[in-house]
Assembly symmetry: C2
Homo-oligomer: 344 residues x 2
């Protein structure tokens, strides 16, 4: 189990900031952060001493505070953000030294899953497959709408004998028309960024498609589990090329499979996605926070701390979020401008 | 100088609350509370050891914190709010014991005056008048619009020889049509609640029109400036009838005068009034707070602490106020509902 927890979630300002990003926030108002929910989701699949969290130095305090029982030596620190490929490589090389035959799941820490039982079934199925196949398996979410905000996986026609099917290609975020075609076609899935593979497969893939990254990892790994590890990582990790695992491996490798899944997934990538997922009142308002009163409001999403007392009147289609001294009131339909609004 | 500072300013929630009402707030964003501005406004007229502040027990800490140089023995405590007549009587009886010939100004602490030089000229003029006349003088603000939120003073036709004219009658808050008639008539003024009189006049008036209140004050005053004062006030002040000075004296006395004044006054009684008074940007937004960014907003009033970072997008005609963990977003045209919104 490798959990990637280094992202900065800038689209959810001010709820999520570079100092306190989305994965550490109780986005859903359930009393647990997305990271805590992610760990909880995987606990029935894998004992905690096989979990690894890769995050940045600035978030290590947050990880420890939110997961006090998590083994500290299993928190890996990226000394600089280099996107997902170096992050995954670091974890895999580290695990290899202790468990060269490991079967591995890699997951983001900031997505949401509704049906955790079905989730477990899917991950178990994928692990069973990679246990005996040299295959990279990516979880493919059955699309429920022509979403233009996600990348798509184009799968070969399923033979209905195996739950796991070959990937034909990966597709970038489509326009609405194309997204509708994907939805109608039936063999397209959302790329959730959840990967399953065995050690030999991922090492081979990284050595083949990112030889520079692999050789940096070979060099770092000489010091793994020694007193020099931190210094060596700090020195060499920033020399890795910034590259995503999708671009580095997925789009190049021939042996990619997908396991179609339907467990109520959202990457929670936008306020609109969160609004869609949260329970709503009759006027389609979704609120997180315990002291919120709405008068003549509709289609709003409100996210504030439980200690905040909020009174809203006469708003239609707005985001209202207050966090740590920062307040945002923004039209939902203009949420793509939040990055501009929040900048300095 | 008697400054009444016991009000609770409930119409400005959440900026103003019963715990921290309007007179203690930097409503105008100038770095000083309305109380501090009021004291400052009167300092050129009268030395500070002739100032008296009447407030409630719960605000005495706020008064001391905001006016650290104010003589503590000149802060009079209403043990219960009894409206303005008992408040004024308490101060006058207390002053009488030391200065039986005092010439007195009574003022609210939560109004705003733009032209403090003209203000001083008006008050000096009124004091000169009451120095040699047994007259109650109330400051009459020349109306600039058919305001329906204020009471009006109907003055007799001025003879243009004296700046001070006889009051014919007081008028309750009018409807718009009546307010327009008042404005057109030219001899109607807004009642600012600022009164000037000499000791003999106000004592006589209170003894005549509120004999019960006067006799309670006679009883309390036996203990003024003794160790028993606090206990006696605490015991007897709550027995005073709740009554305003306007109703108790102004509307009954025959010898009321007004001094027409034009010094840029506002009672800051509503968010709309504050919006009208504050400097505005080209889109008619008025903001108090140093870290506020507006995108596509117009006709808004924003009032938050300087430490708050606020981003607003796409609001037209809203109040946005955040204070002490409480946030209000409300249509300006629905501000009369704030009391309903903020209640428990």
């Amino acid at each position: 189990m490798v959990i990637m927890a280094g992202g900065i979630g800038s689209r959810f300002w001010p709820m999520s900031t570079a100092e306190y990003p989305k994965q550490f926030i109780d986005v859903m108002g359930v009393g647990k952060s997305l990271l805590q929910l992610t760990v909880e989701r995987f606990l029935p699949i894998c004992p905690i001493h096989h979990f690894w969290i890769v995050t940045s130095e600035k978030y290590v305090g947050l990880v420890k505070r939110q997961l006090p029982d998590f083994p500290e030596t299993h928190i890996l620190l990226e000394s600089e953000a280099r996107n997902t490929a170096p992050c995954i490589a670091y974890a895999c090389w580290k695990i290899k030294k202790q468990s060269p035959d490991a079967n591995i799941v890699v997951t983001p820490s900031d997505a949401f899953v509704l049906d955790t039982v079905e989730f477990r079934r899917i991950i178990d199925e994928a692990l069973n497959f990679t246990d005996c196949h040299q295959a990279i398996v990516t979880v493919g979410i059955k699309p429920s709408r022509p979403e233009t905000g996600y990348g798509y996986i184009c799968a070969s026609d399923a033979d209905n004998l195996s739950p796991i099917v070959k990937v034909e290609s990966f597709k970038e975020k489509p326009d609405l028309e194309t997204a509708q075609e994907y939805l109608d076609a039936g063999n397209f899935y959302w790329n959730a960024g959840i990967f399953v593979w065995n050690m030999e497969t991922i090492l081979m893939a990284l050595r083949t498609y990112t030889p520079n990254l692999a050789s940096i990892m070979d060099e770092i790994s000489a010091d793994f589990y020694t007193a020099e590890e931190a210094a060596t990582v700090k020195r060499l990790f920033p020399t890795c090329e910034k590259i995503s695992i999708d671009y580095a491996v997925m789009e190049k490798s021939k042996d990619i499979y997908t396991i179609p899944a339907d467990f109520g997934w959202s990457d929670l990538g936008t306020w609109g996605a969160l609004h869609g997922l949260l329970p709503k009142d009759e006027q389609q308002n979704a609120v997180v926070g315990r002291q919120i009163r709405l008068y003549d409001c509709k289609n709003c999403i409100v996210h504030v701390n439980d200690t905040r007392k909020v009174v809203l009147n006469g708003l239609d289609g707005y985001i209202v979020s207050e966090c740590d001294g920062k307040l945002l009131i923004c039209r939902l339909r203009e949420e793509q401008r939040i990055k501009e609004f929040s900048g300095d």
